[in-house]
Subunit: 235 residues, 2 copies
């Protein structure tokens, strides 16, 4: 029993925070009045309060209240009691570190696996994979583990970016990085372009949005899938 949206990004170019996906979120959180927001990833280092305010403003447009997880004295209990959960983007290492520190990994996993409606964007989506070893973020803190929630049986690469053929920069392309991942890991990786999301309902995992996604399987050439593709056999 799962009911989750795993989104590449919170914001697409030229549009407001969560704006592109609000209609979908009305459905995901249709029976939820108040969403517990996990602000731990702190994009650009903003405070938990400021980050919660941003989420709050966006959700007010669809009539939902938002409470920051940092405001609860017992965050474990807050996750257990939550009617809906949203984990925002930012730095995946900071997010995972804080989840481990507060002993929330198993609690959050159980909440999502037992059907609490969940939205993740960017770092909040990364943690839905088996590990966070395919994050794009800078490792600015050292978390106790790279193991993540495993809501889906593969890894996520959010903000997936195609190689820029005109670039003179010699740093690795995203595709090269994910290929390197497969020298040390065997699970598939779903490269989610900005504006795409995975809709997880019970055992179903479907690609949504208008774009294709790029799939990287161990020992196979990468390939594209179209929207509405079912991914529950990918593992």
């Amino acid at each position: 029993m799962k009911n989750a949206i795993i989104a590449s990004t919170s914001t697409i170019h030229g549009s407001g925070y969560l704006e592109y996906i609000l209609e979908e979120l009305s459905l995901l959180f249709k029976d939820v009045e108040t969403i517990v927001f996990i602000p731990y990833a702190r994009p650009s280092g903003i405070s938990h309060d400021d980050y919660t305010e941003i989420a709050s403003k966006a959700f007010s447009k669809i009539g939902k209240a938002v409470i920051g997880l940092h405001t609860f004295t017992n965050p474990k209990q807050a996750i257990k009691n939550a009617k809906g959960i949203f984990t925002g983007g930012g730095n995946t290492f900071v997010l995972v570190n804080q989840l481990y520190k507060n002993n929330l990994i198993d609690t959050l996993k159980e909440a999502i696996n037992t059907g609490t409606p969940y939205l993740g964007t960017s770092a909040g989506s990364n943690i839905c994979g088996l590990t966070v070893k395919t994050t794009n973020d800078m490792p600015i803190v050292y978390p106790p583990s790279f193991n993540a929630l495993g809501v889906v049986p593969f890894n996520i690469n959010p903000h997936y970016l195609d190689p820029d053929k005109n670039s003179k920069h010699m740093g690795e392309t995203r595709e090269t990085r994910i290929k390197e991942f497969h020298y040390y890991n065997t699970q598939p990786v779903v490269g989610l372009r900005e504006g795409s999301w995975l809709k997880v309902e019970n055992e179903s995992i479907i690609l949504k949005g208008t774009l294709k996604a790029r799939i990287f399987e161990y020992n196979k050439p990468p390939y594209e899938i179209s929207k509405d593709t079912q991914l529950n056999q990918l593992n």
Copy 2:
């Protein structure tokens, strides 16, 4: 007593492996016949043998032999005995993990600090900072620590990339990432553009190459420095 080159990249656009810096390397390794190559970072997952072959070809142009560290039964002793050392780029997490696994961190640090001529490129430069928390690489393996060699009293960000003002991609810019680093860490970060390197001689650390570098200090706006700037006071 140090004698090291910490380079942003091995290869600049439109030029061969190490080609842009070979003249400088002739000087660095002027009294060295055979260079011990640390191939652990395995760019694109290539084998240690194949990677050593690439380094070997480049160094043959200036009359130097290259031996891969992986070919020694006792790598610790090999580092201690080395007359010159080169650590190539690739994945910083893979490199650091292998150095820890083989218990080489302290040995390599001591070799460099006691004057063994050392060249690092990309990941091989990252490890010369205090930590590898400002690498651009994907965390495809989980190393025992992010602490690095501390050859210089700050962190390195190789392949430094200026923000692309025309980009519609919503992923973080390099500058944003380094600013986030400073919410959790206080040491300076030197953003080395491709084609730049730091020349470390005893207590002197000088920016070389034709480009400026970007310096990020804790609680200060980032700023540019010109080539030939002395950085030994940056800490």
